[in-house]
Assembly symmetry: C2
Homo-oligomer: 540 residues x 2
Amino acid sequence: MALEPDQASIDSITLFVALLSSCIVIGHLLEKNRWFNESITALAIGLCTGIVILFTTEGRSSRILVFDEELFFIYLLPPIIFNAGFQVKKKQFFRNFAMIILFGAVGTLISFVIVSIGTMQLFKKLDIGFLDIGDYLALGTIFSATDSVCTLQVLNQDETPLLYSVVFGEGVVNDATSIVLFNAIQKFDLSHITPGIFMKFMGNFLYLFITSTLLGVGVGLISAYIIKKLYMGRHSTDREVALMILMAYLSYMMAELFSLSSILTVFFCGIVMSHYTWHNVTESSRITTKHAFATLSFISEIFIFLYVGMDALDIEKWNVVSKSPGTSVGVSSILLGLVLVGRAASVFPLSFISNLFKRTERDKFTLKQQVTIWWAGLMRGSVSVALAYNQFTRSGHTQLRGNAIMITSTITVVLFSTVVFGLLTKPLIRLLLPSKNLSNTASSDSLDPFPPKPMADLPLIANGQIADDEAGNNIPRPISLEEGNDNIPRPTSLRMLLATPANTVHYFWRKFDDSVMRPMFGGRGFAPVIPGSPLEPLLH
Amino acid sequence: MALEPDQASIDSITLFVALLSSCIVIGHLLEKNRWFNESITALAIGLCTGIVILFTTEGRSSRILVFDEELFFIYLLPPIIFNAGFQVKKKQFFRNFAMIILFGAVGTLISFVIVSIGTMQLFKKLDIGFLDIGDYLALGTIFSATDSVCTLQVLNQDETPLLYSVVFGEGVVNDATSIVLFNAIQKFDLSHITPGIFMKFMGNFLYLFITSTLLGVGVGLISAYIIKKLYMGRHSTDREVALMILMAYLSYMMAELFSLSSILTVFFCGIVMSHYTWHNVTESSRITTKHAFATLSFISEIFIFLYVGMDALDIEKWNVVSKSPGTSVGVSSILLGLVLVGRAASVFPLSFISNLFKRTERDKFTLKQQVTIWWAGLMRGSVSVALAYNQFTRSGHTQLRGNAIMITSTITVVLFSTVVFGLLTKPLIRLLLPSKNLSNTASSDSLDPFPPKPMADLPLIANGQIADDEAGNNIPRPISLEEGNDNIPRPTSLRMLLATPANTVHYFWRKFDDSVMRPMFGGRGFAPVIPGSPLEPLLH
């Protein structure tokens, strides 16, 4: 008896682990049915479990863990975001960097303004409790945080690299922007906005963006330098892997400690680690980190969806709301409408602007691609739920009428958008981007030697990264061959530099990377030769 | 501000992660100095941090996390024990199974009896607070739980396989026995022992042993069956790895839920998973799980040592004790003496008994080997600390004189045995088993292409397991070649069966394994062929 820590927590952990396992198995079985995916499966299983708990406790409770912000922001979010940075195709990401920032930051701001003003105007007509200006602005950020997991599952990184990298990169920048905005709103008194306060607000926003990025890059470079200098791999793969995990998490926690945007920090830490640190470790460490990070991220994602599904039925909140179901439906519908409009108001104008800067017709976004980008940002997910809990449960409970309505409406919007929009994503993209049809039908053949990569692998893994490396055989190569064959031409004149600023920056960056960064921090072609690496016999 | 969950927990997590990273780096740097290892480094860093915190808080506190049994038993211990089972050399382990049980279970019981009776007699003369019979019996189990990590770091699995597997296996069985005993003592009223109660006690003990083992084996087999049937690997490495992690943890939590011995359960789950499940997954999954489990275990171990070091300076406990330093020194010395005597009273007689059953001189334990086994069980570690906290802080604080003395004495014994005995282990073993000298001196040569495996890899990894598998190229082979070349001869007569019972059992088990178990659950030679496995191109 005595040694068992706390029976309630053992019960809930056991149940959660069992449910997570069954989500993976059921998600796998449903994979052939190309409408479903693990997110929706987890949501559904969470809902079912909630119902079962509701019946067994005779209506008193539907959940076993209270939604815990600390759990979400300290343990579940970091692996997801770090893995996103670690597995991103860096070349595509940086080539489209300007566009990603445009869609991710400016787009989020547009959506934020529209949702805030929209709710301020439309909620007046509904009988909801008191909401102050801070609440409306918070609603703007809560419903600007997109969840593009569903879309990334069906977009193909090789067929539509531009679209994929924009949707993917925008998703991360969007999360960071929303959370930074949300924090800024809670910090500043925005009840009477003066130009001075606005400038300070924007300054704070930029400061957070830049310092967070620098912190992530810094920690990533330190990890690369330590592992390169100490030849950890010669002694132990486990030590290398442990150090990478710990340093990545350290970057996140340091950003939290200094009140920076930890999402941006850990994302850039992931990018730097995959560019430098990953190349300094042994072959086994590379395989282990690649898959271990992806697995941690995968488990966290399922956990979040499972949790949101289970939490959706929490009885206390619905009790308050059930007295006026009409109001609740109204609020949810308004929010969904504003999400649709806000996203449209940012994607289509911004696509138009970005098309103006494209020289060739091939690089421009077609209308179908614009619709895809628009659709990709319609789902709302766990970040929205976490922010809503933070804003509307600060008094510790959801008894206040306004707060209860906002929480239940957030959950309704998240469930509706994830399930309905999510289920429609696959057919829609098949319709809009018909080149996908071939690989979809081929996948039913179970003997296909190269099946299409499923969701857990697809969004994030830079295919062929490891295979490329074998070719290099760890021999120092001064020529950088970063993920691709097309060499960027050397800019010959100032005119050309002005015409293709992004490519030029990329060119100079690569020169700097080859001559200064890689010799110092390692990286492809500059990694120390590691004798006795466990996998070496396989490679020759 | 608002989004940061709890500033205090962010501070402490950041500090812990930073300290863990520095332990790895410093432990790596100190490796050439063959007296130190990561455990002692972590203890030392923990102590130093404790002193710094003590000064900065002006003597109010020396620690940032209160010792949390739930953290220890639910999060830190499972990966360590699972990894021990997962990486154990199964053939050696099962060949010496009888001896391991003899030393692990019977030896622990002898040590338990001696420490309990010893403290009961000797403590009477000292002026300590009231301790009841349950406390004395608890002390017996607390100081019977050994921590053989230090010894395993210096023993060589290839040079002394028998010694290594006995010390290693005994360590795990010993932990399980101590914890089962401890739980039984808290559950039963042992103030007046009748034969009936004693029989019930022993029955309970055996029941826990058997059911816990069966649960672990069951969950392991289910995981093997699921992964074999569903061909998870064809779709996603991450899904396979996630499922293995979750099922392993599920076995531990289910044992906790049913009040079984979770340590035994997760240990046997690890053995079954490495024997069946591991062979059913893709090549990348094998490398990933092998290193990911070892890394998790490595991080948990350092965390525990760091924590114990930091907790050792907790001011509240020492305040009570400091009024009578003589008593505390006396108690600690008595406990240390009883540990030495209790261990000797179990190792030497049991070695004598086990030698009686050995036919050849080569298989018998020499005196030097007996001294090594004796020494290997002198260190006391985190399990002792956790049990002591459980027994003596049940009222929530350590203000009671008797309780405070017991806690501080436990910490003193743990620190002293780990640091002093730990530092002496390397020289002692070099003296007792001189064949080690060669590899020790060779390790100073930094260009040595095959350096001796360091601590983190050495105890647990079955060398060459993966290399063996490449040779098999995933083609189904009905002949089992489990970790070794020497085939066990078929027993030809009943006389031979009686003479070599262990080998015979092993022979029939392998027959059964090949004809029933492996075709059903997969395993070496019976794993499904996985096309498109990421590493395949490398292997041909």
